[in-house]
Symmetry: C2
Subunit: 105 residues, 2 copies
């Protein structure tokens, strides 16, 4: 499962994830919160499902959508390669910038 950068690039889809962070939601609830059409919401949910970012639980005609954080954990792992650049005070950030000044080759 690759990191779904393009999936997260969509503001409405990030909004959905934020809402699902509180609690699972119905499609109708999400539609209302997002302020777009119901089919529009369903399309975004389809993309989120394909990316493994949400999971569904059927309850009669209703579908409860809930968060699935695994892909976000992978994003976190990707970010880890860069994290040393801004963590720590006398850390690699300064050394990185200093090295750039001294020898930008």
């Amino acid at each position: 499962m690759p990191i779904p950068f393009d999936v997260l690039a969509e503001p409405s889809r990030r909004r959905i994830l934020d809402l699902l962070l509180e609690r699972p939601h119905l499609v109708g609830e999400l539609t209302e919160q997002l302020g777009l059409s119901q089919p529009g919401t369903s399309k975004h949910l389809r993309v989120l499902r394909a990316a493994g970012l949400v999971q569904v639980r059927q309850d009669a005609q209703r579908r409860w959508y809930a968060l699935r954080p695994e892909p976000l954990a992978e994003l976190d792992a990707w970010l880890a390669h860069y994290r040393h650049l801004w963590t720590g005070s006398l850390d690699a950030l300064e050394r990185h910038l200093d090295a750039m000044e001294d020898d930008p080759r």
Copy 2:
């Protein structure tokens, strides 16, 4: 400076960031590594500059592009809201999933 999700959604641009993580690069070097045309590379660099993800240092006709990690730090901050879902062994992940099973309302 908002989090540049859409900027990171482009594979070539992420590739550029990966290359710049090692060391600063010239546009020509990036062009060769990416395997696309020089104007194509320049267009991506323009987007990355606008997002604050890279900085330039001019050296005669050459331009040294280097990483600017601040926007990635903001992405990291955004991820922090979700991080408790997958960190820790007896942590909120299980409690989150258990709560969903018990009361998926």
